[in-house]
Symmetry: C2
C-alpha cells in the first residue's frame, strides 16, 4: 500500500538562530507545524546545532529540512551594518530563500529591527510602497483588529498612513474574510479637524480613498473592535502595543494582590482562574504568533524574542496563511491599479 | 455650650452647571465635601436652580454657599468664542473667584476644552510657563504615577516637556510626599537616540535638568509605576489615557463573556467580584476625582462630565489638597529661580 498522500500547504522558512530560546523552541515549533498543520518547514541556521536539536525528536517522514547559515546577528549589533558584513547570517539566508521562491514565506523571531532591515534588503519593497509597516492583531471581544503601523515607522507622512490603511484592509479581507473592513485613524477626537496638520491631512487622504474609512477613533475605541483596521504612525502604534502588554500584566498583578488576604475572593480567584488565564492568553500578542511585515515583496512574519514552541508554530501558521491568501500579490495588484488610475486621471 | 469649632481646610468653588448631571450631582458632592471633609464649597451657577436642589437636603450649618452665574457654556459651543460672549458663564465666574482670592481653587466638570480656556483667560499662566498641562493620576499596583501632559497640548516643543516634568515632580513631591520623584519620557525605546528629533532633544533637556530623570520609558512601563512622573506630549497622553479606559472595560467584558456558560467559573466570578470591582474602580480615572491643570496661576481641577456625587466630592478634595500644599506657589517659586539662574549664567 502506498503511503497516504500528504497535501502540504506551503513552505515556510524560519530563522532558527534568532530569539531567546534558539534553536530549541524553533525546532519544537517547526516540528509541530510540520506534524499538525501540514506545513513544510525549512530551518535556517547553523546546521550542526539544528541537527543536534532535531536528533532529540522523531522527525522521520516529516516535511522538515535544514538550510545552513554560518552567521548570526546578535541583539546588540546594528542591523544594517551587521547584515552588510555577514552575508551568511541566518536571517539573510532565510530572506534569500523567499526571494528565490524556494519558500513561500519567512518567520523571524526577536530583533524586529534586524528582521525588518533583512526583509528590506532581501525582499525589497512592493512597487509603490514607500514604507512597509507592521500589522499587529489586537484582540477584542469579537476577535481582533489589525493595528498598522505597530512600530516600523516612527515618523510618517499622511500618504504613508493611507497605504497602511490599504494594506490593513487587504490583510483583514483575505485572512479574516471581512468583506469591507472598516478603517479608523487613531486621533485625539472624532472631528476631522482634530490633531496636528499631519492628522488633518491623513484624515483627508483616507476619507477620499476607496477604503471603508469611518473617521477618527479615540484611544478608548482601539481595544473595543470598533474598527477592523486601526491606522496610526509607528510611534503611536508602538506605545499602544506595549502599553497594552504592560496594562494586561498590571491588571492581573492587581487582582493577585487584591485577593491575597481574602479567603473567599481567593477561592473565587481559583475557580475563575482558567477564564482569567484564557483572557491573559488572548491579550498576549505573542500568542498570535507574530506580527506581519506588510509592504515588502514577500511574506515575512516577526515573532517575539521570547517565543516558545507554541508561538513559533503560530507564527509559522500566520506566515502560511498569508502565503496561501497571497496577501503580497493582492497588495501589489491594488497598488498597481491605483497608480494606473492616478496616471490616467480618473477625476 | 458653644458649638464645636470647625476648622475649615479650604474654600473651593465648583462650576455647578457643567457635566451630565448638573446641578444634581454637584450639589450632592458639595454637601458631602462640606460635611465630611471640612471644605467650604461655593456652588457657582444659576442661583434658583441650585437653591431648589439644595432645598432637598438638610444643609443647615454646613459651609456651603451659592454664587450666581446666569450663563452656561454648552458642549457644542466653541469655548473661546463662548467665553468672550458670555461673561456671566458659571465657569468664568468660578475662575474669577479664584483670581480674586475669594476661593482657593476651582473644580469644573465636563467640557475640558472650555475649562482650560476659562482657566487660561481667568487665571492666566504662571510666569515662565508657556504651556499649562493636564496632570492625570494613572493607577498602578503601588499607588499612582502622574501622566503629564494628559491631553492639553497636542503639539509640543522639547522645553514644554521639560516643564511638564518639573510640574509633575512638584505635584508628586507635595501631594504624595515622594522626596525625589523619578521622571520618565514616553518613547519607543530606552536609548537616548530613540524617536524623532523632538524626542532626542526632549531627552537631552530632561537629562540636563535637576530632575530625577531616569530616561526613556516604553509603553509597557507606563502602567507599572516604573516612574512617578510620566512625561509625554498631549497627543500621546490623550491616546494612552483613553486607551487605558477602553482596555479596562474590554478586559472586564471579556471576562463576563468568558465565564458566561461555565457554572464553576461563574461561581468563582461571583466570589471574586468585589475584588474585580475594586480594581475596576482603581482603573477608573474619574474615581480620582479629576485631573489637575498644572501651570495656570490658580488651582484648577477638571472632572469627568459623567461624574456623580462621589467623583465630585473627590474632585473637590483634590483641589483642596493642591491648594493646601500650595502646588501653584511651589511651581512659581521653582520657575522663578530657574529663570534667575538662567539670567545669571549658572551653566
Amino acid at each position: 500500500m502506498s503511503p497516504p498522500l500528504r497535501v502540504l500547504k506551503m513552505r515556510i522558512a524560519i530563522d532558527a538562530m534568532g530569539g531567546d530560546y534558539a534553536p530549541v523552541e524553533q525546532v519544537r515549533g517547526a516540528i509541530d507545524a510540520a506534524k499538525f498543520d501540514n506545513i513544510e518547514v525549512i530551518l535556517v541556521g547553523k546546521k550542526d546545532e539544528i541537527n543536534r536539536e532535531l536528533a532529540n525528536y522523531n522527525v522521520k517522514g516529516l516535511p522538515i529540512s535544514v538550510v545552513n547559515a554560518p552567521d548570526v546577528i546578535t541583539m546588540d549589533e546594528h542591523p544594517a551594518f551587521a547584515l552588510r558584513k555577514k552575508r551568511g547570517a541566518s536571517i539573510a539566508v532565510a530572506m534569500r530563500l523567499v526571494k528565490e521562491r524556494a519558500v513561500d514565506g519567512v518567520v523571524a523571531l526577536g530583533n524586529t529591527g534586524a528582521a525588518m532591515t533583512a526583509a528590506l534588503i532581501g525582499l525589497g519593497r512592493i512597487p509603490g510602497i514607500e514604507r512597509p509597516a507592521i500589522g499587529c492583531p489586537l484582540p477584542n471581544n469579537n476577535g481582533f483588529s489589525l493595528l498598522v503601523d505597530a512600530g516600523a515607522n516612527a515618523n510618517c507622512k499622511p500618504h504613508h498612513l493611507l497605504y497602511f490603511g490599504i494594506m490593513g484592509t487587504i490583510y483583514m479581507q483575505m485572512t479574516v474574510g471581512i468583506h469591507n473592513p472598516s478603517v479608523g485613524l487613531v486621533n485625539i477626537g472624532e472631528e476631522p479637524s482634530k490633531g496636528s496638520e499631519f492628522y488633518v491631512a491623513s484624515y483627508k487622504m483616507l476619507k477620499e480613498s476607496n477604503l471603508n474609512f469611518i473617521g477618527n477613533i479615540e484611544g478608548r475605541d482601539v481595544p473595543t473592535g470598533k474598527v477592523d483596521v486601526i491606522v496610526c504612525d509607528g510611534f503611536v502604534g508602538n506605545i499602544i502595543l506595549k502599553f497594552a502588554e504592560g496594562m494586561g500584566a498590571t491588571i492581573f498583578d492587581m487582582l493577585k494582590k487584591e485577593i491575597k488576604d481574602k479567603p473567599i475572593a481567593k477561592l473565587g480567584g481559583a475557580l475563575v482562574k482558567p477564564s482569567l488565564k484564557s483572557i491573559k492568553t488572548r491579550l498576549d500578542p505573542s500568542e498570535y504568533g507574530g506580527v506581519s511585515l506588510l509592504g515588502v515583496d514577500g511574506v515575512c512574519v516577526i515573532g517575539h524574542g521570547n517565543s516558545k514552541a507554541k508561538a513559533v508554530r503560530n507564527a509559522i501558521r500566520v506566515a502560511c496563511q498569508s502565503a496561501e491568501k497571497d496577501i503580497v500579490g493582492m497588495i501589489k495588484d491594488y497598488i498597481s491599479k491605483m497608480n494606473v488610475g492616478d496616471g490616467k486621471g480618473d477625476k
